[in-house]
Amino acid sequence: MLNYVLRRLLIAIPTLLLISLVIFLLVDLAPGSPASEIPLTVPPEVRAKIMESLGVNEPVHVRYFLWMKQFFWTEPLYGIDAMFGTDFAQGAPRLISYSSRVPVFQYVGERLPQTLTVIGTAYVLAVLIALPIGIYSAYRQYSWFDQIGTFVAMIGFSVPTFFTGLLLIILFTVNLHWFPSIYNTSLQVTDWASFKAQVHQMVLPVIVLALFNAAEISRYTRSSMLENLAQDYVRTARAKGMGEGTVVLKHVLRNSLIPVVTVIALGIPTVFGGAIITEQVFKINGIGAALIGAIHVNDLPVVQTIAFLTAILIVLFNLVADVLYGLLDPRIRYD
């Protein structure tokens, strides 16, 4: 097993390096320039000075290696320093955002909690909704429950989240005033009232994201259950006189969950992509909003870093999925 995990890890490294190069070049070589954010009232000489102070004028390869060094060496050092109060970094230049001059990692760190709270809740909720629906739909295939479930799931992943989001906003915020229209990121949950306020402001985005994800997961659960229900071992178990509950929930479910677990693990990074839209619609200042904002002002270090962090997440969860697969299904790990 260890061998298997190690092998997967080793493959991940060159992939990540290649991705870093692709992302860096793609963003860096594009036309457009951070200078466009400087108002027209600023004279050209000052403009040129500002650009120079950002280090924009170095050649591409120099900036790539500097970025890599900062990403993999300087920033982790600062991370260690912050955690243990050491001073390994010794003031080495950090990865700095063009537009706000803040270290990119600090910026991402400030944004991450919002995204994780909203997306995390939505995803957990989606899984909790999707599994029972998927299981029951498969068990009672072609029943009215299954038909409705299928229809709702189809709608769930056919109607784009920005449309559902806007509809909910018009209905519940603009017309009914039930929910706040601006997400308050400085709210800290310390007591019952603040917890209620937090739930209150999360309801709409969580519903939108959960509906979308639940649709997909329930479909996978259903088809995986269907496949296993038709297997011989199910017939055998029933023939032995086992209770229907034991057969379905113990034998079939356990076997069906293998692919579902993979789908859930692989779905996490894509949810980050979907969150870009949800954050935009519901004005949550999370990672997605930071990315869009940075793209708009040509804040290349932020764009590159967020894109690359997402790539790392994807590779990581791929790895997790592989390992889970290996754990759940012994046949895989000796492959």
Binding site: P31, G32, I38, R111, N285
Partner: protein, 567 residues
């Protein structure tokens, strides 16, 4: 109190408000929404309005501009003038006196050394200071004593209220920023995000591009102010959401720059929770005519340069006809409503500098047709497009990508089609259009189109540098990496001479007269700049917020110390 949500806070606090003549901090919490979130609180490292304005709650200059555009003293005892002896007769020196007993929010005294340091900070060659222009022409700053600041200029400066005046050039605390000079400026996070200032508020917490939490400055010079104990400046979303949060849902007390279309304005006002404030500054949306030939067939380096005059637009009658065909009031109604007004001027304000040029305000399609007809532009082949000497009236009309601008483009195109001009529309992403990248063909400076539309304004109240952009030697071209500001490639020796006179004149009435003449030369005399809309500022304030005065000459939060909670 800080645990309360913005939502609950606004509602709960409305109840416990205590009226206008409050002591410091008795009015609780105030919520301000900047939909473009502040990214840094040091105006010297960012020229974005949002950053400058948020910072102005903390950092102050010696003086500021009030809502009429007049200079008033902040940290200074009074505003120096030639009359009171603060400015020397030859206009090369201005002397400021600090108010006695001023302290920073950390309790240490404010001295003239801080001002001198600020000048050094911004003029450091490696600092990339965004406000360097405000310190231009200063040769030395002397500090004879702790309360006196003497600024010396290399040449007579008719408008000396630039350095240390307004939200864009506040005074930094020398002690705090001592290690942030030059290249180190941008890595001073603590300083840039939590500057120590003299303003009514102090930064408690700052989240980049998201939210600034502030509390009242315990050492503020007026013991009764500010009335609010804490303030949140929240960022994010868009103008519509911001307006809604104040006007419809009441979650926020004040929203900055809520530029929304007229229908939305009416709807929001009907909700009755707040008011839309509007004020006019110097921002003018205009169509600029290219006086040089942008023909793609010309070799690179000669396109849109003074080597080739424009084949069509060099004819003033064509430019005039294009201007006559536009109904400016309709544009205002579509795009800006009460936040805009039709104008023919390049310099629409301040009052004394605005020319009484209103000839363009009535649309005259028939007149435009007749003018083209009489100057030889006729539709010979019946395709609906006029031509002369084999040159058809075909123009490319570019602007940046932005919904209002695209609506304007569509409407103006149909008017120009009406008078027999073929128009090709082009919109370019703002990051490229305003990016100034000499390698890109689509920047507004390169102007590889016949006409282009954008908005521009000038800092403060003095239009001299702004009008100076249209001098012959400011024409962008390959030899200066396309960095000139004379976008139209307008060149008139008479204009240059008149501008030189302006820069030597110090008497205000005379200056205004010359500025008006210059404005007219560019607009109604030559139609080089076809002004469309004087774009105002539109902000939203809750009915429960008192003391708000919209100021378009300085930061909108200029009088936050006077804000109160109304019952």
């Amino acid at each position: 109190m800080k645990l309360r949500t913005a939502l609950l806070g606004a509602v709960a606090l409305a109840g416990m408000a205590s009226g206008a003549n409050a002591e410091r901090g008795t009015d609780g919490h105030v919520n301000v929404l900047y939909w473009q979130a502040p990214s840094i609180l040091n105006p010297y490292l960012s020229s974005g309005t949002k950053d400058v304005e948020a910072a102005s709650l903390v950092l102050e200059g010696l003086a500021g501009f009030d809502e009429k555009g007049e200079v008033f003293a902040r940290l200074a005892v009074d505003v120096p003038t030639v009359a009171n002896g603060g400015i020397t007769e030859d206009l090369t020196q201005i002397t400021w006196k600090l108010k006695p007993g001023l302290v920073w929010s950390d309790g240490s005294p404010v001295t003239s050394a801080d001002a001198k340091f600020t000048w050094e900070y911004c003029t450091h060659p490696e600092g990339g200071c965004a406000q360097a222009a405000r310190y231009e022409g200063i040769t030395a700053i002397e500090t004879p004593d702790a309360e006196t600041i003497v600024v010396k200029f290399s040449a007579p400066k008719p408008n000396p209220y630039q350095a240390f005046v307004g939200g864009t050039s506040p005074i930094l605390q020398a002690a705090q920023f001592a290690n942030c000079l030059g290249a180190a400026a941008s890595s001073c996070n603590e300083q840039n995000f939590k500057p120590i200032g003299t303003g009514p508020f102090v930064v408690k917490d700052f989240k980049v591009n998201d939210v600034v939490e502030l509390e009242a400055n315990a050492n503020y010079r007026d013991a009764a102010k500010p009335a609010f104990a804490t303030m949140t400046v929240k960022g994010g979303g868009d103008a519509v959401a911001a307006a809604r949060a104040v006007m419809e849902t009441g979650e926020f007390d004040y929203a900055w720059n809520t530029q929304i279309n007229p229908e939305m304005q009416a709807q929001m006002i009907a909700a009755g929770k707040g008011v839309l404030l509007n004020g006019f500054g110097t921002l003018v949306e205009r169509v600029e005519m290219n006086m040089t030939d942008p023909d793609p067939a010309l070799p690179e380096g000669e396109r849109s340069t003074t080597k080739h005059p424009h084949p069509i637009l060099s004819d003033i009658n064509v430019r005039k006809a294009l201007s006559m065909a536009i109904d400016r009031q309709t544009l205002v109604d579509i795009g800006y409503g009460s936040a805009g007004r039709a104008t023919c001027n390049l310099v629409p304000a301040p009052e004394m500098f605005a020319s009484d040029n209103t000839g363009c305000l009535t649309q005259d399609i028939e007149g435009a047709k007749a003018l083209l007809e009489s100057s030889g532009w006729v539709d010979g082949n019946g395709d609906g497009i006029r031509e002369k000497d084999g040159k058809p009236l075909k123009i490319v009309y570019q602007t940046s990508t932005n919904p209002v601008r695209q609506d304007f483009q569509a409407v103006i195109k149909s008017w120009w089609n009406e008078i027999g001009v073929d128009v090709e529309l082009k919109n370019i992403d703002a990051s490229v259009f305003f990016g100034g990248d000499a390698g890109s063909p689509d920047t507004f400076q390169k102007f590889y189109a016949d006409v282009e539309m954008y908005a521009n304004n000038f800092d403060g109240t003095d239009p001299e540098p702004y009008l100076g952009q249209y001098l012959c030697n400011k024409i962008p071209g390959p030899e200066n990496q396309w960095q000139g500001e004379n976008i139209n490639r307008f060149c008139d020796p008479a204009y240059d001479t008149l501008w030189a006179e302006l820069s030597k004149t110090s008497e205000m009435g005379k200056r205004a007269e010359i500025a008006k003449q210059l404005n007219d030369m560019l607009t109604k005399d030559s139609f080089t700049v076809v002004s469309l809309v004087d774009r105002g500022r539109l902000s939203a304030a809750s009915n429960t917020l008192g003391g708000v005065v919209l100021n378009t000459w300085d930061t909108e939060l200029w009088n936050a110390q006077d804000w109160t909670r109304l019952k």
